[in-house]
Symmetry: C2
């Protein structure tokens, strides 16, 4: 019998509460020490022990919670209690004390929630400040007593992980498999320091499917490279980036039991990650435009990626996006200094469907249409090297005066 499978994205996600078998809670402990009641601490747990996978920042300088969580993943990937998260302080560059504090957060969550399995720890916020660990432990106690699977608590968690984000970021996919429905629900935060390799972003994804750590890890790494790793706001990769995937097995089906289900799972996970990544870019600090770069005709995916990143992080390209200036010369210049072996005489460039270069020759008679396209809030740029069949897609933003004003001091 052929299995019937469909993957759909929920038009309106209710966040983690979309997925059965998880509880959550968030609270405010004033981590920023500014007498605000902003939610800044959250816990996510399973009804029973969880299987898991994780992807972490490649920065040499890893925050204490990243070091701890990488260790938890290595030692206990298939028997996890949950995740404890704080915003407002990154617990990065905080030495031995920072590691001790991250450990205390993990242990405190495990003890207070009365769940006998280790917790992942995530922190995001300013670098180089000691965590207010006492306030945080009190907050963990408060959260532990408030854990439930309500939509309200779920939304509070999505709020508590934010820093300079202006909106919560949630997305849910359903896999309809014969007469069963499985769920993958994710939340994320982004806003600044977003670049290659998930900078200053956190994402937490839960599913009711079952799966081994090895299979979950494979699926997550793959989805991550096509989503969170293909966006850039400011070219800075943070010390704290973390994506975690939890599987509680409530549905009593292992996603790898059937090749088609495996495929559907990968597809659904990628869709959720991609949607969250796009939400992160669109909510980038003081951006006014989102631009998708589609690089094709390359000799390798690596080459295509190198060119995409070079264009997508060029200050001159990004400021011209901001100014709605069809300055294709800056795009070609940035593609050229990627040093990927471009031949200008083979280059085709298009703003959406409008030709800009054909075999390196400017198509000036379209100049009015160029201007129309780059004046839009969202548009795509297509660069074909005509040297091979490999391609890469990268999403970037413009660079505004307001970004500089916003970031010139914290």
């Amino acid at each position: 019998m052929e299995s019937s499978i469909k993957v759909i994205l929920e038009p309106k996600s209710k966040g983690l509460s979309d997925c059965p078998g998880y509880k959550f809670a968030a609270t405010s402990v004033d981590i920023r020490d500014n007498k605000s009641s902003q939610l800044d601490l959250a816990i996510i747990v399973g009804d029973k022990s969880l299987k898991s996978a994780g992807v972490f920042t490649l920065n040499d300088v890893k925050a204490a919670p990243v070091v701890l969580s990488m260790n938890v993943l290595e030692e206990s990937a298939e028997s996890i209690g949950g995740i404890v998260i704080n915003s407002g302080n990154a617990n990065a560059c905080t030495g031995h004390q920072g590691l001790a504090d991250a450990k205390e957060m993990s242990t405190s969550a495990q003890v207070c929630s009365n769940i006998g399995f280790p917790f992942y720890v995530c922190s995001t916020g300013r670098i180089g400040r000691k965590l207010p660990i006492n306030k945080i432990c009190e907050g963990i106690d408060t959260c532990s007593k408030a854990l439930n699977n309500s939509e309200a608590n779920s939304e509070d968690v999505a709020k508590a992980i934010l820093t300079s984000d202006t909106l919560i970021k949630q997305k849910t996919a359903r896999i309809i498999y014969n007469d069963q429905t499985f769920t993958i629900a994710g939340i994320a935060k982004g806003a600044g320091m977003i670049d290659p390799n998930m900078a200053t972003m956190l994402a937490f994804i839960v599913t009711d499917l079952d799966g081994t750590h090895i299979n979950l890890q494979k699926s997550l790494s793959q989805a991550n490279s096509k989503s969170f790793n293909s966006i850039s706001i400011d070219g800075d990769m943070s010390t704290n980036d973390t994506v975690l995937l939890l599987a509680n097995g409530d549905a009593e089906v292992d996603f790898s039991c059937d090749k088609n289900l495996q495929k559907a799972f990968d597809q659904a996970l990628e869709k959720v990650c991609h949607n969250l990544a796009q939400k992160i870019v669109s909510d980038g600090e003081k951006i006014t435009k989102v631009v998708t770069l589609k690089i094709q005709g390359c000799t390798s995916t690596q080459t295509a990626e190198k060119i995409a990143r070079s264009i997508g992080t060029s200050l001159l390209v990004k400021t011209s996006f901001y100014g709605s200036d069809p300055n294709w010369g800056r795009i070609v210049d940035a593609a050229g200094y990627a040093k990927a072996g471009i031949n200008i005489n083979k280059l085709d460039l298009d703003y959406e469907t409008i030709p800009v270069l054909r075999a390196g020759i400017p198509q000036e008679h379209h100049a009015k249409q160029w201007k129309e396209i780059v004046s839009k809030k969202n548009f795509s740029i297509h660069l074909n090297l005509n040297q091979g069949s490999s391609k890469y897609t990268f999403t970037t933003t413009d660079l505004s005066e307001a970004y500089v004003t916003f970031n010139k001091s914290e």
Copy 2:
């Protein structure tokens, strides 16, 4: 007999006219087509044929004049007529026509000036526009008739090569060798697109010493890597970067005839290049600060350079410089994503002489002094990895709202 040698930098350079045996002229041909009388065309020639060396952009997309000049260097490095330069149009991404136009500029200069040797060609300005070659050829004729070695003409040439620069850039070094004095005089333009590998910058250096192409090239490449290649304004490398060194041998001494003279020549050339590079950074588009990054204690120079460039091009670091915010966390973060194997627990960081980190631990009791230093217009940052003995120095700038405003459209 021990030779007596001294290298001095002229406190007040008179530009190329400081060096005997060269003539120059500049004129205005309205290349920008804006009815302005701005100088935009210049010629530099020797009294006789010149020996030469050159360094060019590493961008895959090389402007037509770069392609032509690389060819001139390859074929005629030791019998050069001079250099013809235009500003206002880069003659980049202009296809076969662009190459034909660059060739016409070179031939026209050779014919009009009645010098029987090939000319280098340099162009700088907007990418992707056809050169107004007729106006340019008329201008070359005008310049050829006005060639002399006056200070006034020399200053006109320094002006004619500028684009968005606000100041002319000239520096002269003298080598006093026993009872003789030799000269190295240079001019440059910069302003935007300045990054690794000399982006959108031109520099022309002349000497009255003699030397083979091979020796001149060795000295120039070395000086270039320690000067023009160690500065960044916006991280963009241009299609047109060129540094040319001309030697007319008027002094009738080959600089390689004596090991000490060779050393003095290298030193003087590096001083001139370094001074011009610093002038370029200080005159960067809409910058308010110049920051020198001194990275040390690395396992290799490459590692030190990688870290310096990562910090020096980080948007978040540059905006924090602009805001006079001692946000050392962003510096450490950028050092970390250079992926050069940093160990945070060994890091020492200083704002000038004030400790920021010792073995990765913040020295918060100095926080007031941090703020004082980063509020200055010029300051240095010292990062010691304590992993080896290699080091690298890199000069960068802040990033202001005005930079964005200035570059959002052309």
